[in-house]
Amino acid sequence: MTERHLHPDALLVRDLSVSFDGFKAVSGVDVSFAPGELHFLIGPNGAGKTTLVDALTGLVKGTGSASYGGKELLGLRSHKIVRAGVGRTFQTATVFDQLTVLQNLDIAAGLHRPAWRLAFARHGVPAAVDEALEKIGLSDLRHKPAGVLAHGQKQWLEIGMLLVQDARVMFLDETVAGMSADERAETGELLRRIGRERTIVVIEHDMDFVRNHADVVTVMHAGKVLAEGSVAEIQANEAVQEVYLGRTAKGNVHA
């Protein structure tokens, strides 16, 4: 937690709070996400990770501030936030099952097209879509309806959709949960590749995955930021150990 907030393209979150009927799911969070790093959000269930992301993407109301590219994100409607360059995936992969892989990517690419072009059918495959298909490794499945894809493939497709919509900030919610070991490795590679010029924030429980790929880790607990730093720093942090000690029995964290 050093000079990340000074990066000109960083997403700066200051004093962000979210409450449901008086219950503070997120309270007073300060965090900065900068491009070029794989930034992981970890923490026990109910720590407020997803709620934080929900607030940053307009799904729930939050107070405080979250600025990106000179824009205040809080208070904007989700689609406006997406248009500002901040995109996300969901815990349960949400793709359009009835549409093909190609169509999924194509409509995701649509926000950069003028509205009137919507009235026309797709002619050929846009370069960005082709590129994304290549990157997420689904080129061969492009004409398959997204509904038949395997769980991991759906997650990749969601990432691909973020790529074609050219999201500069990507929030990925438990992307590798339920993936096989090979798929995890591939996903990690993918994130590394696309993360060079983007801000990628991953919510994750799988500590092996975190250890293997995280540049920065932010630990949340009970709605607050508990610690932030490199994997090694976090593992050495006493507060984090304390929070997770009670949970080691569940096997979530084993150093």
Binding site: H79, V82, T94, F96, D106, I107, A108, R113, F120, Q165
Partner: protein, 358 residues
Amino acid sequence: MTTKLKSFLPLLGIAALAIALLVVAPAVLSDLRLNNLAKYCCWAMVAVGIGLAWGRGGMLVMGQGVFFALGAYAMGMHMQLESVGDGGIPTFMILYDPLAPLPAFWEPFRSGAFTIAMIVVAPVVVASILGFAIFKRRVKGAYFAILTQALAVALATLISGTIKYTGGDTGLSGFTSFFGYTLDDPLNRRLIFTITATLLVGCLVVAWQLYRSRFGELLVATRDAEERVRFLGYDPANIKLVAFVVAAVMASIGGAMFVPIVGIMAPKSMDAAASIFFIAGVALGGRAALFGPVLGALAVGYGQSTLSEQWPGTWIYVLGLLFIVVTIALPGGIASLATRGAGLLARLRSSDRKAASA
């Protein structure tokens, strides 16, 4: 390349329907049956719109009668004024005050051009205002359905209750001419049929283009996961609004052509029951398929005419039973029979091949 060709395949279907309606039907049908078919075509236009809004967009529009009425009453008012001649007032108004001037909202409908413009503009304006409020506030599902139905009831009651200005429950009737052509002439009735059928084909082409366009994909996406669409950077409200407005315009055009064909327009033709009847055809035919709504509406219209000729008094049992059975047995409507049949055929063929190779 093949998929591209495939997307043009429905055009062949539309062409076939166009030939059936514009060439075959006038050649083989009597004036009576042609006029009946014209009536079904009007319902089919409404149905194409419902297919778009409901089948593709997931909005169960239970109040399309509202838009049907906009077009129908615009046309009805024009034809009524045309029939009474310059400076005249409709017969039903004479009773209350023979010397009263025409109500201000009637006056512009003396102009045919204004009438045609209103048939398109009125539903666009009304549907935009309504839809904007409804979709921005994220009213959907059953709420949306009941809300639109309430609007149809409200409008029907309003028309019934303003008998001095609208003819009330008895409606507008006694038309003699349609844009200068006498309605009595059989040739002119064929002309009206031709126009109606052409408009229906036009609606289908519009639907086909919308379905294959990126908008169509986005609409289906909105139907299946509305909130997810937001994270593609679109406001689903706007996408639904467009579909709703297009559906409204189609209903209005259907309503407008309905009037010269049946010769009377009353609230009964657009109230809650009528609006449900519009939906019935769509559900029967298959709401998400391109041809489902059209075929369903034509089938329900035809079914109603023939069944009631066959069994006056008891036909309603048959129609009611048909609704029940089709909804239970064929969730995708009649149109799904085609895909089911194709699937079965493919399975048979592949098993043939297996058998042959074995």
